[in-house]
């Protein structure tokens, strides 16, 4: 079972998320909260994270269209984004949020917009890779139950 190529692939893909700096230790905390009583916790919380943050992305986009920019409101949304991303373990996204906040505080609109683009890219990459990982993990679980034990 441990030697199954599919399971090895799953483990490898998971490790890559950490090695590439997309996820940090906090994500492991979330994984540890998944057990028999809460068998889908990780996927559920990932879904909630993306639901919450996509709403924030919309808010930020709207803010960035204002003239003049309201850096206070903008920072408020980014603060929330950063908070959730930190609790989620989204390392790169969190870093972009920190940078974004710095530009907000400096009242640097150009910097804000540039960083936001970068943030969205990292955010989308993480989402894509997590989805691929979960899909593979699901496949592996199905394969496991299909084959006889031992």
């Amino acid at each position: 079972m441990e030697g199954s190529p599919l399971l090895r692939q799953v483990a490898h893909q998971r490790q890559a998320l950490f090695d590439e700096g997309l996820l940090d230790e906090q994500f492991v905390q979330l994984e540890e909260l998944q057990d028999r009583t809460n068998p889908n916790f990780v996927e559920e919380i990932v879904t909630t994270y993306y639901q919450d943050t996509s709403r924030l992305i919309l808010n930020i986009e709207q803010e960035l269209e204002r003239r003049p920019l309201d850096f206070g409101r903008l920072d408020g949304y980014v603060y929330q984004f950063k908070g959730s991303s930190t609790s989620f373990g989204a390392k790169k996204v969190k870093a972009e949020c920190s940078l974004f906040r710095e530009y907000c505080r400096a009242g640097n609109g150009e910097g804000c917009m540039r960083t936001f683009q970068q943030l969205k890219r990292e955010y989308a990459t993480l989402k894509r890779k997590l989805e691929a990982y979960f899909q593979l993990a699901r496949q592996a679980r199905l394969t496991q139950t299909a084959s006889p034990p031992g």
Binding site: Q29, L30, L33, N38, E44, Y79, Q80, G83, T86, G89
Partner: protein, 218 residues
């Protein structure tokens, strides 16, 4: 499945005392995470999205409990609302929320003339702002936790939950019972995310100063 004697049953019930925690956070993600973490600590959890909703809930409980009390002739300690599982043993609230902040909620709860002021309150925040932390501790928060929360942060809240039990059961106004003082040491010995004031026997003003050990830089 284990077979148990009646005695063991009672003991297990006491050990598995399901504390009821009221969790307040405007973020659905944070609420979901908080709820899971708290349930992992064998707590019953009620999540609300704002300070206003929290107060509303506390009010509802009060109404329910006073109605129940009226219907029982005499309320012995074994028939306490605690057994109903409804009474709130701890409030854990995010600091930054739109409208009523966690600090506002803390002030309201601690400033109330009812039993609310005896409910331990823990404030959580993703920002490490010393002035904010001391403000909350001085207002009566038991702990100020920094996000991201770990399971160990919440497990360390056990003494506060026990304190609320003791407090209620003994129906006294004093802050702690000697029995809990051993646990207080565990609370003070903390990890990077927890800043706590010592739970003193008699809360002198100086005792209520926060002890900022190992402030985590977020």
């Amino acid at each position: 499945m284990e077979l148990q004697s009646d005695v063991a049953d009672t003991q297990q019930q006491m050990e598995q005392q399901h504390f009821h925690v009221l969790a307040v956070d405007d973020s659905p993600f944070e609420r979901k995470l908080l709820e899971r973490l708290l349930r992992e600590c064998a707590c019953k959890v009620t999540c609300v999205e704002s300070g206003d909703k929290a107060l509303e809930y506390l009010n509802q409980l009060d109404t329910y409990q006073s109605n129940s009390a009226d219907s029982t002739a005499s309320l012995s300690s074994s028939q306490s609302p605690q057994q109903e599982g409804l009474k709130i043993n701890l409030i854990i609230t995010d600091y930054s929320m739109p409208g009523m902040s966690g600090y506002d909620l803390l002030k309201t709860v601690k400033g109330s003339s009812s039993s609310w002021k005896d409910i331990p309150v823990v404030v959580i925040s993703s920002e490490n702002v010393p002035s904010r932390i001391s403000m909350c501790l001085q207002e009566g928060a038991e702990e100020f936790l920094l996000k991201p929360l770990k399971l160990s942060d919440l497990k360390n809240l056990q003494p506060h939950l026990l304190k609320s039990l003791v407090h209620y059961n003994k129906d006294t106004k004093c802050s702690t019972d000697t029995g809990n003082n051993n646990n207080n040491d565990n609370v003070v010995k903390m990890n990077n995310n927890v800043i706590s004031k010592r739970i003193a026997m008699s809360p002198e003003p100086s005792e209520r100063r926060p002890k900022p050990k190992e402030l985590a830089v977020v």
